[in-house]
Amino acid sequence: METITKDLLRLATIGSVDDGKSTLIGRLLVDTRQLFDDQLDAVAAASEKRGVGDLDLSFVTDGLRAEREQGITIDVAYRYAATPSRKFIIADCPGHVQYTRNMATGASTADLALVVLDVAHGLKEQTRRHLCIAALLGVSTLVVAVNKMDAVQWSESAFRGVFDEVQTVARELDFADVTTIPVCALLGDNVVESSTNTAWYEGPTVLEALESSQAGAWTTSRQGARLAIQWVLRQPGGGRTYAGMVNGDVVRIGDVVTLLPALVTTTITSISVGGAPVLEAGVGLSIDVALAHETDAGRGDLLASSPLPTVTRDLDATICWFGDAPLRSGQRLRLKHTTKTTPVKIVSLNGVVDIATLRIEPTEQFETNEIGLVTLQTADYLVVDDYRENRVTGSFVLIDEVTNATVAAGMVGRAAFL
């Protein structure tokens, strides 16, 4: 398996409102000197204007007028940081339940989730919901910042209590790698610099945990290479090449691949990146390939190496429903999967997830922000992998046919913990 370079890590912050996600990101950016003087001045001026002290670090990422007025995060803010060992793309996600769709937007492409929770309140229901969504989205690595340690006088036993809660939920949700850290985001303890207030803690700071994390890129997979065809390029002299982004595993000249759903086996005869020929291309690269055989391949088709994905019109899937109106069986929508868009019918709702117990409860409809199991039937054939095997060929969105709004995030199959 080819893994892309580890020098770019995508992370999403998750957790409940007011536990300090934006403040932690603000502290991380300030203490690693990612902010320019004028940006810091602007944060200080905004803090003074709203009477929230000298420097409200949450204003570093809460950039919208409404966010600053209400003191909450409404939508994802993307921030960028670089340290000598890594580049980070940080999606600072909102905590409120009504903005769950925005949290899912930020977490869908994350390699790692940075969880922030308040030591005095432990794991709130909303944090649990976010963890459940992150787990469903396939994020398997967590860095957990147990925040506001100053408010409990840096008590080890208070930290241990939350630590145990985190361990329990991490086991329930099958997270593979969890690092839990006592911090004070406001004062900076254990964020970038080790704290002198937590002599009993010997683990890494938040920055050290992020820099040393072995979380793999979200687009890698153990199950063969995939290239969803986006566009057909006509070459001088009459040939055609097929453009798309490599996913799953590296693609090499000479690879035997199968064009799906047509089920035509052929060989890759050339690869280029941005018009320049190469012998192989790793995951995450946009390429175009030539094939040994004449095919009528086009947008929406998929080239795959073994083991092959499944060709189907009938899907069992897990969805997060974001629509304002409830979802019911029988409803018609559009579905976008890789580069293919097709009409889809909700055949049945097979139960809604109770976030507290992770049990599947019978239901007539999914309310906004509920997670549930569905059976779908599409008009056109799809070429899918189970989401646990491949986050690109295993994911889809549902689209409202009238407004074109994206109303659900869908994952093929069902997580083992459900």
Binding site: T61, N102, L233
Partner: protein
Amino acid sequence: MTSAPLLARATDHLDLLESHAIFILREVVAECERPVLLFSGGKDSAVLLHLARKAFAPQSLPFPILHIDTGQNFPEVLAFRDATVAAIGGRLIVASVQHSIDQGRVADPGFSKSRNRLQTVTLLDAITEHGFDAAFGGARRDEDKARAKERILSFRDGFGQWDPRQQRPELWQLYQGKVNPGEHLRAFPLSDWTELDIWQYIEREHMALPEIYFAHERDVIFRDQMWLAVGPFVEPRPGESVERRVIRFRTVGDANCTGAVDSTASTLAQIIDEISVANVSERGATRADDRFSETAMEDRKREGYF
């Protein structure tokens, strides 16, 4: 096979950013009926155009190039625009703010006053006139706190407005570009690039840029805490003295609201060194248009600005 070019080096962050941008360009072209690429002649739109050519090579660009001309541009930038478009055989559409003023669509703010905000009307009129349903822009999320919130495919209603509280969820890389007639999308393939990424990429790709990005001598005056180049759109006011200094421009906007920075960086390598240790942001150092208020960019974007 040893003579064939081999991608021997590890895929680095510039490769990933480039590939992501190319992926977005191809998705939008495939999903939308009439896309257009917004081009200002600045470094970001130069990178965007470069990526667009790579995305569709060896075919020609599958969309036209639109320049919103305020009539207050640096002449070096217009020359670069024309040379770049000619070199790739692109189709250039110029939409003029002066024309919008002449037609009574917007009021003339007066000699040497900023036409920055007026561009929105000219841009939206051009989008309507040509029936564009998607416009590629070179905006980056690291530029401004409102931009940091925006989706890669950003929906605009029938009035061209952005509603930051009701953005479409944007999951994985499933960019869905369907809009109803009269609505359109803005697509930002450079969303995840930083200023430093842009300069490193320009150096790696040996790209050309307008000369004003590199250090040169120029007559300037000090106004609004910035060095402004004396020229057709900036005349010294009483009490302002003209100085000759070695400067360069870190961003390219209108000649009357884009400040120069003191710099001797005359090569890309020197510019990268300078950016790496800068302690003032790109827009903070050089843009009078962002200094109106705390949420200047959000307010303009809501109206339909770039």
